[in-house]
């Protein structure tokens, strides 16, 4: 027994390595906050329609179907990066794409959409950033997937790419999505 005592520190060290390795392997991408909204109902909101301020975009209007909720702003570089991917996604027409223009009033989001194309089915304008806080947004672009029961199923932080879209979003959508949009 005593002759094997030197193994104790070795064992403790090995245990430490295992714990740290699990921690590193399971930690999300550096700086990404895991949203507490996952598995919970999407936040309620009621915001002016960016394209027609006399109309309101309400979360209750979206109930009962899957949708993708994308938070963007013209001031956000990564949003411009993902713009073409979003246009492709819109072209696939598998799920409605709801945009939320985040704190963008002093810029020209309409001009930007006219120039680069509008990938969204409808866009809510969050001028003062209150709705973004409800969604736990901390850096655009952020993209949420909400299911037909209004539950947030997935959240992606950063510029959308085709790989992410296929791997994380398309795979979570029901096999034969209804083309209601």
């Amino acid at each position: 027994m005593n002759r094997l005592r030197f193994l104790i520190p070795l064992g403790v060290f090995g245990l430490l390595v295992i714990v740290l390795a699990i921690g590193i392997a399971r930690s999300p991408d550096k700086g990404t906050i895991v949203s507490p909204l996952l598995g919970k109902p999407a936040p309620e909101f009621s915001l002016p329609n960016l394209l027609d301020a006399s109309q309101t975009v309400k979360s209750s209007d979206l109930r009962g179907r899957w949708y993708v909720f994308n938070v963007w702003g013209t001031w956000c570089f990564a949003c411009r990066e993902e713009h073409n991917t979003l246009l492709e996604i819109k072209h696939q027409a598998v799920v409605p794409l709801i945009g939320m223009d985040w704190k963008d009033a002093e810029n020209d989001p309409l001009g930007y959409l006219q120039q680069s194309g509008n990938p969204y089915d409808v866009i809510a304008a969050d001028k003062d950033g209150r709705a973004a806080i409800d969604w736990g947004v901390y850096g655009a672009p952020e993209t949420f997937l909400v299911n037909d029961k209004g539950i947030v199923v997935y959240k992606y932080v950063g510029a959308m790419t085709r790989q992410v879209w296929e791997k994380e979003f398309l795979s979570r959508l029901p096999p034969r999505p209804e083309s209601k949009s």
């Binding site: 700086g31 906050i33 895991v34 949203s35 507490p36 909204l37 704190k103 003062d128 950033g129 209150r130 973004a132 806080i133 409800d134 969604w135 736990g136 947004v137 901390y138 850096g139």
Partner: protein, 147 residues
């Protein structure tokens, strides 16, 4: 002379940084009590974008929005715990610089205590073993010294 120069320099630096701090967050709450709670809360909530800063110290937009939220909730008569719960519901435990005790991180809180117990056990064992050794060591030594 040198000392008064040092004092002046220290004061100058302090004043400089106070103005910097005010530049980030000029908020004044209506009463000193509210101001104190506001400052405490904004210092214990993490800026979610620049994650090593508190929202009180961060010049970025989202920190200003979160500070506004804290201010409005305090003015509306909410408790500090209401504000924390509000933030945690949206951004997760991560937004708190001081994590709460929960079933999920209980082991994190208990591990130091367990380690202290293990350390104390080991120390007691070593000490008691050594104290057994002491008389055995002394006896032959005393005989040698005796004339």
């Amino acid at each position: 002379m040198i000392r008064s120069g040092l004092v002046a320099a220290t004061l100058a630096i302090l004043v400089l940084f106070t103005t910097l701090a005010q530049a980030v967050d000029p908020t004044q709450m209506p009463t000193p009590q509210l101001q104190q709670r506001y400052l405490a809360l904004t210092h214990e909530l993490r800026c979610v974008q620049c994650q090593n800063e508190a929202i009180a110290d961060s010049p970025v937009d989202i920190a200003a929005d979160l500070r506004r939220q804290v201010r409005e909730m305090l003015l509306a008569g909410k408790t500090d715990e209401d504000v924390r719960n509000y933030m945690v519901a949206r951004y997760g435990e991560f937004i708190l610089f001081r994590p709460r005790m929960s079933a999920k991180n209980l082991w994190l809180w208990l591990t130091p205590g367990v380690l202290i117990l293990v350390g104390a056990f080991v120390a007691v064992r070593i000490i008691s073993q050594r104290s057994h050794l002491v008389p055995q060591d002394n006896e032959p030594l005393e005989e040698d010294i005796r004339p």
